[in-house]
Amino acid sequence: MFKHRMSALTAAVSIALLSQAALAAEEQFFPVLSYRIGPYGANGQSFFGGFVDYLSYVNLKENGINGVKITWEECETEYNNAKGIECYERMKDKAAISTGPIHPMSTGISYALIDKTVADKIPMAMVGYGRTDAVDGSVFPYAFPLVTTYQMQASAIIRFLKEKEKGHLEGKKIVFLYHDSAYGKEPIVALQEEAKLNKFELTVIPVAHPGNEQGAQWLKIRQENPDYVVFWGWGVMNQTAIKAAQKIGFSRDKIVGSWWAGSEEDTVPAGDAAKGYMSATWNVAGKDVPLIADIEKVVYGAGQGNLGDTSKIGTILYNRGVSAAVLSIEAIRKAQEKYGKGKAMTGEQVRWGMENLDISDARLKEIGATNLLPEIKTSCDNHEGSGKIKIQQWDGTQWVVVSGWIEGNKGLIHPLFKASAEQYAKEKGMTPRDCAKEM
């Protein structure tokens, strides 16, 4: 009885709030859970700089999304789970009226928010990190591991290596060197499956956080003498690994890093040692992308740029932030098509938009983001939408893309997500949505 009265009350309050919002000029609010200080502050500055710059860009260039001005508020999480939750709770009420997807840029925070976002009906995007089995949207309605996941990335890297070896990995030796955390451990299942399928030998070697000492691991790699090292590092661990590889004389062009081990922040400090090092990426670096050049012109020209240090424009993480914002804005556009153009969208509506994203190459060209990120098409049972990456190589001064879009082995990897999501649903005692009815 009490509960009913409460929900009636909340409904009344939210209706009151909604009508209030309708009276004011339409505004689309974005809660931005950013981090610009703390251990990963440097990475956060580039990413969130790009993210916020694109929001400003849409405001300046097109006067918002179909006329709906974008507003945002930042809250510093320091990459810390507790602070992330505090920020989320602080912005929740504001986000109840209209909200863009949340990008926590932290696997830990995204895990902690998974249940909360469902209860509060706020969509969360985890572009290239976070809970990967959320690909199965029937169990995770509000979580979107957009573009691609660790497992699909690992699988795509194997495919790249296979092509490099002219289609055969049989009898090859591959070492998986990883950050010993949720982030580093997730691809192991995928790699094991790939090893079975392609008959290569897989050795996994963990590196304890933060990974600034890897002597023992690289000694082991020297003993194993593998054909390739697939490398899942983060932060200071990346440059350490590259330097350690040089020390033992392991050729850097036989190391392929994940997309968190492939930014300028990783290679520049390693100096000459990084030359030839490869990494995966789901977005390209550089200012050649028309959109990035235009953002610099429009946003920084108007003096509304978010970055203090403009040399970061066009770096891999900056462009990743822009890509994440592009996805968010496109989701809101999609939602507006269904729920009314020129209106602010609620979390529930944006969620629908994210689940029905269809960003073709033609659309990417329209916004000037050709080749910045792959084509994306999401659905209820595929919250990932792409699963494609490119491989880039560091030439000593910049990242050079050395492959086209490579897709991971979906038939092999997606059933793993399905199984994991089912286990989650069972542990939580919940019934998944029926995706057939969502069409």
């Binding site: 950013s34 610009r36 200080i37 502050g41 500055q45 930042e74 809250c75 510093e76 320091e78 789970n81 507790a82 602070k83 939750i85 505090e86 989320y88 709770e89 602080r90 929740k92 009420d93 696997t107 830990g108 895990y111 902690a112 998974i114 249940d115 909360k116 209860a119 809970r131 990967t132 010993d180 955390s181 949720a182 982030y183 451990k185 997730e186 192991i188 299942v189 963990p206 304890a208 956080h209 203090g308 793993l416 994991s420 286990q423 989650y424 542990e427 939580k428 005692g429």
Partner: protein
């Protein structure tokens, strides 16, 4: 005047030995309990429950656990976060593997598991003391986190090592709203805090304090060091373990071993140093200081910057917040090295004399 115990005569041993011997304290604590149980649930919003009150209570409990070990028994420990991790993972596994086990029972079992492991890592305390013991407990910190990462069974073979906690159902009622979770956490913390208060004035507590003040003298007067020290480790780890279980089930909802880092152990240690070593109240004050002050600064500083028209970016504000927080810690430690609890004690003494200080 306000706080004078004149006229309160104790006519029996029971009256003399009760938990709060002074009448004003008894009334105070009753009012406090009434406010936190009856008033706050009605007035606070979701933000207050989920972001402020629940973590505050959970960390108070962890700090209380460490305070029992460090403040009362004098054994320095840097493994509190690890014992919280044991509690969190144990509660998860009890829920997972034993069908139909009530959640409160798994919390208790989680505490007992943590206590068992605490005893194990308390063994070195029989031979080494002080800073050297702190280093030995550091081993617990690293070993336990390593263990939870190393053995996938503990996280039910989750590919990422992250566990998602089961729903909280007690007597058929599901605790889902932040308000209900708050009440659950509050009840557990209140009961355990009063139990701790009771314990430290008992013979056990007095034995701990004797060992803390001088263990040779304590053993000379007939206190057996081994059981006393190990009991301190057990009780302390029990508290931390329950705090860890609450942290996982009522606060975050999903935890990974790396979340229980050394950094967290240090924070808990700072809580008791700031709050007051060897004080139950101090654990709460310290947790409030370490957890709530940054949040307050986070909200107040941008507001102040806007008010003064200073063009601060959000990164600058965050940096300033860290600076101010650090400066305040130093300020309080210089002004009152015995912690915030000591300030409260001084206030009480002043109130006793007020309005006629000599």
């Amino acid at each position: 005047m306000l706080y004078r115990e004149a006229g309160q005569f104790k006519t029996s041993y029971a009256a003399d030995q009760q938990l709060f011997p002074i009448r004003q304290d008894r009334i105070g604590i009753l009012i406090l309990l009434a406010v936190v149980f009856l008033v706050i649930p009605g007035v606070a919003g979701d933000y207050w429950f989920s972001a402020i009150l629940i973590p505050f209570l959970i960390f108070s409990l962890a700090a209380l656990g460490l305070n029992i070990l460090t403040g009362y028994a004098g054994q320095l420990s840097l493994g509190s976060a690890a014992f919280m991790a044991v509690g969190a993972y144990a509660a998860y596994n009890f829920q997972l593997r034993i069908d139909g086990i009530p959640i409160l029972v798994s919390f208790v079992c989680a505490g007992l598991t943590a206590a068992g492991i605490g005893i194990l890592f308390g063994l070195p305390s029989l031979w080494i003391k002080g800073f050297y013991l702190a280093v030995a407990t550091l081993a617990a910190q690293f070993f336990i986190v390593w263990c939870l990462t190393k053995f996938p069974w503990l996280s039910n073979y989750s590919s990422s090592g992250v566990i998602s906690t089961q729903p909280l159902i007690i007597f058929g009622h599901a605790f889902t709203s932040p308000q209900e979770k708050y009440l659950l956490v509050l009840t557990i913390v209140a009961v355990m805090a009063l139990a701790a208060k009771n314990m430290v004035r008992s013979s056990t507590g007095r034995a701990w304090m004797a060992v803390r003040d001088m263990d040779v003298a304590a053993s000379v007067i007939g206190i057996r060091l081994m059981p006393v020290k190990l009991l301190a480790f057990a009780v302390s780890s029990f508290y931390c373990g329950v705090a860890g279980a609450l942290y996982a089930f009522c606060y975050l909802g999903s935890v990974e071993p790396d979340g229980f880092s050394l950094d967290m152990s240090f924070r808990i240690l700072f809580m008791i140093i700031i709050g007051g070593v060897g004080s139950i109240l101090g654990s709460f004050l310290g947790a409030a200081f370490i957890l709530l002050l940054p949040v307050f600064l986070d909200i107040a500083l941008p507001w102040a910057a806007r008010l003064l028209g200073l063009p601060f970016s959000s990164a600058t504000v965050s940096h300033i917040q860290v600076l101010v927080f650090g400066a305040l810690i130093m300020f309080f430690l210089i002004v009152e090295p015995h912690g915030l609890a000591r300030l409260w004690q001084i206030t009480k003494e002043k109130l006793r004399l007020w309005p006629f200080p000599h």
